[in-house]
């Protein structure tokens, strides 16, 4: 596959909704350890709403903007604005590209990362979704082709999520725990890695 089209992206988000539904309890457990235990339920609710609205999307840009607005309106918590901003900014960048080939997708993902960082004011190492997303964006460059790039991004995100385990959180509710957040994997980084894994599995 040379490029991602709106059909593939719709399939990605449909499968993501299924994955978040299946992983709901797992994500809630991760969140209960260092937060309030609702991350899985909130994401499952948001992506389930997304899944009902995707029919008829004509462009990747339009699709992502709809996804972003739907997540903002249904997820709640901090994840709603953060995941919503991710897709809205990805949608804005996608509008600049006629086809979403490897290079364009890297720029789309980078725009999403920049948006999330601006909205949440978190940086790498703060024990947030950024710790999965930033390495994924970096891993996109230099890959041989699109499917390799997506696989590299997913692997980097998974590793990045695992590397949040020894970190002290500096943002969000987990930041109130101080040292007690150490030893727990960040739920936001975990869900972000799942999202990218679903895309890599679909295209790979």
């Amino acid at each position: 596959m040379e490029a991602l089209d709106v059909g593939i992206l719709t399939e990605w988000l449909t499968r993501a909704a299924q994955r978040f539904g299946a992983e709901q309890a797992h994500l809630c457990d991760l969140d209960a350890a260092i937060g309030d235990g609702d991350h899985g339920a909130n994401l499952a609710r948001g992506f389930a709403a997304v899944a009902t609205k995707m029919a008829g999307a004509e462009t990747a840009s339009g699709l992502f903007k709809m996804v972003g607005m739907t997540l903002i309106g249904t997820v709640g918590g901090a994840s709603g604005p953060l995941y919503g901003t991710l897709f809205i900014e990805m949608g804005k960048e996608a509008a600049n590209h006629a086809t979403l080939d490897q290079s364009a997708w890297a720029q789309v993902l980078a725009a999403g990362l920049a948006g999330v960082m601006a909205r949440g004011k978190a940086r790498p190492g703060d024990k947030t979704m950024i710790d999965a997303l930033a390495p994924a964006v970096k891993a996109m460059t230099g890959a041989a082709d699109l499917s390799t790039a997506l696989a590299s991004a997913a692997a980097a995100a998974r590793l990045g999520a695992a590397e949040t385990i020894p970190l002290i959180a500096h943002k969000g509710r987990a930041s109130y725990l101080g040292d007690r957040a150490v030893g727990h994997q960040d739920p936001g980084a975990t869900s972000l890695a799942m999202l990218l894994a679903v895309l890599a599995e679909l295209v790979g």
Partner: protein, 333 residues
């Protein structure tokens, strides 16, 4: 865990319907998006106050909607921030033409969602200001965390600012008053037991028979450290000490002492705490000239308490005493 619920996913909505039926003269409930507004709103020419947050803290915030307090409250899912569309619609519904103040507790989700809502409201030409409350002294290190949390002081700010708005203060004045109240109040809480979010079905943390969680917030999140349970007087001392040291409160100050229940602690125990807290304040030369005792900002059925101490000025006293007519607070009318 036994709960009086039908379906975990319907708890918030069914409670809203119950509130609407219980208090038809005071509030109106709007569904999809969900918000509670005062029955006689919007009030033309009056600054409107909008707050909101996750559900599970009842009566905050919906129980504080009514004359002399909030114009609207946006309930999120349990322990989850409401969304910008709720806040935007609530803001538009209660705007009396002279601006809207958003009172936001400092939790990442609430702050991000209210920021997005304020951006959307400004695009619709509504003059919106926001004050973020952060009175929780349990958070010591604001540099490397999301900052101090908004807890009990928020209730006091909503009452005092609501009275100011009711008596004609403009948006700048109400906003400044809210900042002043927030700057003058400090709070600290403990949990004796955890609580169970309905859709999670199990407690958010577990405490041994002889353990308490010190420095909790209001979402069932673990506090800063866990310690042995003590007698009420010792626990009250441990809560009061960091509160008084932080502002700091000084000899000669007049203060409002708010002893809050977390949802599962009976009033009789809150008065035992109040007794000791008032005596500690007196030892330090602080006059407790106003008080509030009861479960007003809760964490579902969690047992525990939080203490808030607000240094009063004459203006705050006047607005505290002013009439308030809401489902949860009602006096002077």
């Amino acid at each position: 865990m036994k709960k009086l619920i039908n379906d975990p996913s319907q708890v918030v909505g069914e409670a809203l319907e119950g509130m609407a039926l219980a208090h038809p003269g005071l509030i109106r409930v709007h569904r999809t998006p969900d918000f509670i507004m005062r029955a006689d709103g919007p009030v033309r020419g009056k600054v409107a106050l909008v707050s909101g947050g996750g559900s599970g803290h009842e009566p905050m915030h919906g129980g504080f909607v009514g004359r002399g307090m909030l114009d609207a409250a946006c309930p999120g899912a349990i322990f989850t921030s409401p969304t910008p569309d709720q806040m935007l619609e609530a803001t538009k519904a209660v705007d009396g033409g002279v601006g809207v103040l958003h009172i936001v507790k400092n939790y990442t989700g609430d702050v991000l969602n209210f920021e997005m809502a304020a951006d959307l409201a400004k695009e619709e030409q509504i003059n919106v200001k926001a004050v973020v409350t952060d009175d929780d002294v349990a958070v010591q290190d604001s540099l490397y965390t999301a900052g101090r949390r908004g807890v009990g002081g928020t209730v006091l700010a909503e009452k005092i600012c609501g009275a100011a708005a009711e008596t004609g203060a403009d948006l700048d004045a109400v906003t400044q008053l809210c900042r002043d109240v927030n700057a003058s109040v400090r709070s600290m809480g403990i949990a004796l037991s955890a609580c169970t979010v309905p859709h999670a079905g199990k407690p958010s943390f577990s405490l041994g028979e002889d353990e308490i969680e010190f420095g909790i917030g209001i979402h069932g999140e673990p506090g800063r450290n866990r310690m042995k349970h003590e007698r009420a007087d010792q626990l009250t001392e441990m809560l009061m000490e960091p509160i008084m040291r932080d502002l700091p409160f000084k000899r000669g100050d007049h203060a409002l002492l708010f002893v809050n229940g977390m949802g599962g602690t009976p009033l009789i125990e809150l008065y035992v705490v109040f007794r000791k807290a008032a005596s500690i304040a007196a030892q330090h030369g602080i006059t407790i000239s106003r008080s509030l005792v009861g479960s007003y900002i809760t964490s579902l059925e969690m047992a525990g308490t939080s203490i808030s101490l607000l240094r009063l000025d004459d203006r705050m006293v006047r607005y505290w005493d002013a009439p308030v007519v809401t489902p949860a607070l009602r006096w002077g009318a």
